[in-house]
Each structure stands twice: as C-alpha cells, then as structure tokens.
C-alpha cells in the first residue's frame, strides 16, 4: 500500500498549502509524477480518492502530469478566488 502513504503525504502537504492561503475551496491538485518514482499512477488515483474523504481535499481531483526521472512534486492547486 505504498500509494496510500504517498496519498497521505500529498494530503498533508496540500492541507498546509491551503491553510497558508486562508483555506480556499480546492478543486484539483496537480502532481508531477516521475516514471522512476516507483509510484503507480492508477493505484495513486484510487488511494487519493479514498484518503481524501473527510479532509479539506474531499471531492478534489488529482491531475497527474507524467514526467521523467524520480520527481514526485505538487506543482499546482486549482482553488476558488
């Protein structure tokens, strides 16, 4: 269940970023996912939806931008305002 751990780390990071911005409604998270990151896209998408329930990220989409290398980086947030 590696992807669940990753999803929880994403939620933790995004929650912090949202709080810094006064808690706007979140629509989507953009994530750069490296081919060599060891993370499986489909498994992460599944884990994301499950893990987001009950958090500030509930109902948001995870937009995965595939990249080279080992990158695993949050690159953007779609928020209100």
């Amino acid at each position: 269940m590696h992807e669940l751990s990753i999803a929880l780390s994403i939620i933790e990071g995004v929650t912090e970023e949202l709080e810094e911005r006064g808690g706007p409604k979140l629509h989507a998270v953009h994530l750069q996912l490296g081919q060599l990151s060891g993370v499986v896209k489909e498994a992460l998408l599944f884990a994301y939806d499950v893990a987001c329930e009950g958090t500030a990220l509930a109902g948001s989409r995870l937009v995965i931008l595939e990249a080279e290398g080992t990158a695993l980086q949050i690159t953007g947030l779609e928020i209100d305002g």
Binding site: M1, S5, E12
Partner: protein
C-alpha cells in the same frame, strides 16, 4: 462563485520526511554516529548480514541497531544475540520506514555513545527508496537466489543506494548464479556503484563489507571490467 484559478507551487511530496531526515543527519553528524541502512526484498539476508556485522564490530566500536518490520519482534530478538542494543520498529501496515519512525525509535538513546547505528528497513524493494532516513550509507542487498535481474526490475531502489551487496554467495554454485549477468544488471541501472559480495554464513567477503561500513573501503565497482568470471563461484 468565481471560476477556480490555478496556483502554481513547487512542493516535494516527501518534504516533511526530507526535513526530518535532514535533522536526523545533523544529529548523527554532531554525535559522530555513522548510520548505515539496509534495504532489500524479504528474505535476502538483511538480518543475517546485520547479525554478523554487529558481532564483528562490537569489540572495537559501540554499535546499535533499529530493525523495521510490519509485525513481530523476531528480528530484534535474533539480533539481540549479538549482544548490542537493538530496537524493533513495528510499522503495522506501512511498507517502509520513515524518518519520523527513526526519530521516535531513537527516543532516549544517547547518540554520543554510538559509533555505528544500523537501520534495517522493511523487506521491500519499492517503497523504501523514496524515504530518506538520514543515513550516511544505504546498502541495497540482493541474494544470489533471487535472480540476476533484480536491479533492472527495481531500478529506483538501486539508484537510491550507495552500495550494492550480493548476499548468500556460498549458494551461488547451487543456484547457478550468473555473476556476470548480475554485475551487468547493477551496472545498467547504477554504473559505478560499489559492490560487495558476501556470505554471512561462511564469512566470505565480510572484510570488504566491513571496510565499506567503516568508510574505508577499497571497493570493486560494477562498471569495472577486470573482474573474475562467474566461473570463480562454480569452482568452489
């Protein structure tokens, strides 16, 4: 309601772990503790190698170990036979160790009183690769019994490691281990990484590994071509 807007940020998913690992690394450096982590698939011989390593070093240095598993403290009990301080980290459902778990497990240990600290990760070739534990040296193990192409199958973990260790070489002939193919596989994903070849059972190759651990290793590199052929194993 206004349209959503895109805010561009750059935030590594492992930011929290990386920060904690950086703190750990600083603590280890300040205390003069050299930290070596072991990663491999389950059953590659991490615990056996560690037991021999702890036993070999404990006369000359102050050594200790943290050992991670999903469940049980069997490994800690086994390593306690080396008569050094050992703590088990039980991760529950988590498939790897994280810096925070190491921080918590260290608890009241005085790092000033530890020269070498070993961290045995959960048996897993995928997840541990992303989590820095503040270690000075990360060793990835592959045993002769598990296939020469492990590095090609799991390039990320081999890329994250500082040394590759081929274990159970006493069994090489029995399983027709193709040494040249194994080196080629290591070389394909991580050219130039030092490689140790050991048998925890017979003690063969332990000197080279211990020199690597102590940080004074004259090591064989995977990209070097002048190595003996794999026949060297079969002749034993």
């Amino acid at each position: 309601m206004s349209e959503p807007r895109l805010v561009e940020i750059r935030r590594n998913v492992f930011k929290k772990n990386d920060l904690l690992a950086r703190e750990l690394r600083q603590r280890f450096t300040d205390a003069g503790t050299r930290v070596i982590s072991l990663v491999s698939s389950p059953g590659s011989g991490k615990t056996a190698l560690l037991e021999k390593t702890l036993t070999a070093l404990r006369g000359r240095y102050r050594v200790a170990a943290l050992v991670g598993d999903l469940a049980t403290d069997n490994d800690a009990a086994r390593l306690a036979r080396a008569e050094v301080p050992v703590r088990q980290i039980t991760t529950g459902t988590i498939c790897h160790l994280e810096a925070e778990m190491v921080t918590n497990a260290l608890d009241d240990w005085k790092l000033d009183a530890i020269d070498f600290l070993f961290i045995e990760n959960v048996g897993n070739l995928v997840c541990p690769s992303s989590y820095d534990l503040g270690e000075a040296l990360r060793a990835v193990l592959m045993s002769v019994t598990e296939g020469e192409d492990k590095p090609r199958k799991y390039p990320t973990i081999f890329n994250s490691a500082d040394v590759a260790v081929i274990t159970k070489i006493d069994l090489a002939a029995a399983v027709e281990f193709d040494r040249a193919a194994a080196f080629a596989s290591i070389d394909a994903v991580r050219a130039g990484i030092p490689v140790c070849e050991v048998s925890a059972r017979t003690g063969e190759g332990m000197d080279g590994w211990l020199a690597m651990v102590e940080g004074s290793a004259p090591v064989v590199h995977a990209s070097r071509n002048d190595r003996p052929s794999d026949a060297a194993y079969r002749e034993r």
